[in-house]
Amino acid sequence: MEKPVKRLNFNLESSKKGQALAELAIFGSILLFCLAMLIQYGLDANYQQQAQMQAFRKAQKIAFYRDGPGAASSLTLIKDKPTPDPRDQWGLAERSPVIGASNSIAWNTNLSAEYIKQYTEPPKPQDLPVMYFEVDHLNDADRPSEASATPTLLSDSGSNAFGFYTARFERIPCLPGGSITVEIPNPDPRQTRANISEYIHKEINCEQIKVMRIEGGVFGGEEEVYTHNELLMQPYFQDAGGIKHRITAADVDGDTKLENVIAANADEDGNNIEFMYIDSNEGGPTHPRGTVVAGGLPIDTGYIYLDPRDMIWDTSMGAYRPVRSTDKQGLLQDFEKTIKHTGTTLTKTESGGTIASTTHRNAEQVVIHKIRLNDGQAPLKLPVRFPVHDDVYHW
């Protein structure tokens, strides 16, 4: 009767015709989306598991083939796998998930280094723990020059494997009249049982420190004090009770942190003690009194002052452990990723009653992983450029 009602009826009938199609389009796409998400989840978990297994195998291999006596070898394997994302309308396999796995293995622990057995030669770099980073498996042609120009590249076991030593051997003299702080086992059995402290710190004058050749003898016996200038020997001191304490952990450079004392050297009179130590906290080539012997990254000697405003919660280390955001070591999580679409071409062919169109879409992905080693070290960037690939779509 009235015009608006008629028009309304007409519209309703018209929409009923397409209702089945609309339902299919909506619910069908939802169902397919669920299936695609499930497949993506499965692929992600699969890649993650594969990376962990592969990292363990590779770390095992590196540890075995190293010449050293079994210092720990750590490997971080980074893979940028192209994972299909159903949310991407172009179906571009974005290399978004960074898969990292780390393992540390010490092999051949029965063999000890020459410097530990004999104290007759300085330690070598292969006696130190080593850390490897392996970033994807690409040919050298696919890798930009920045990565290969890494100054601390120590191994070419893989085209994208980078080995690092994070500590170094250093020498430092115990100045006449000076003193060092040593760590010795707590002699009080009650405190040890009560688990108060198993070790105590004791300040020792340099004159009290002796060096001992332990080759062929047992520490704590009546060995003569060996004072040959060329040999590296074990430092010790004798307390008031006559007990000899071997010095293995001591603060020899005055930074209020303990260093691992490997050996010591002295002149013919047993004076002018010179320690050989590993400082994994700080130190380095510019240390005011120390001298680098072997290995190690250039380490910033500056002390780190903690500012509460810069501190964040590192949840991976457990609750309530503040870590300065710039102090995070190893592989940093904030990687950079860029996808550059280098071009899209559309070709259309008409033949008879059919029209076929093809779209070529070129995309280049660059992923940059940042690795930070030692205090104050600027993040080392390892860019990985994935080759241009054609995504071809047909309609």
């Binding site: 499930l38 978990a45 699969n46 363990f56 195998r57 095992q60 291999k61």
Partner: protein, 93 residues
């Protein structure tokens, strides 16, 4: 006449859609179960092979120059079970 036909069409549509939806549900569930169980099976097979890879015998092989069998990186003997997506109960059948 036209009204009855429309009602029957809805029943037929519902039946077909219901069967398809159930099939889809079974497929999705089976795929999910297979994915998760496969991860577990693979991890288990892998860990069982690690003892051999790290044993002293394996070191001996490497020293002797056997590169393939003695390679600790290549000891992984895992074969996936086929997934029967549309079978109720999945791949365990």
């Amino acid at each position: 006449m036209k009204i009855y036909f429309t009602k029957a069409q809805a029943t037929i549509e519902f039946t077909l859609a219901f069967v398809t939806a159930i099939l889809f549900l079974v497929l999705t569930c089976n795929l999910f179960v297979w994915l998760n169980h496969d991860l577990v099976r693979r991890q288990r097979a892998y860990e069982e092979s690690r003892v051999r890879a790290a044993s002293g015998t394996m070191q001996h092989f490497i020293v002797e120059g056997t590169t393939v069998t003695g390679d600790p990186g290549k000891l992984d003997f895992y074969r996936r079970k086929p997934m029967n997506l549309f079978t109720p109960g999945g791949y365990n059948r």
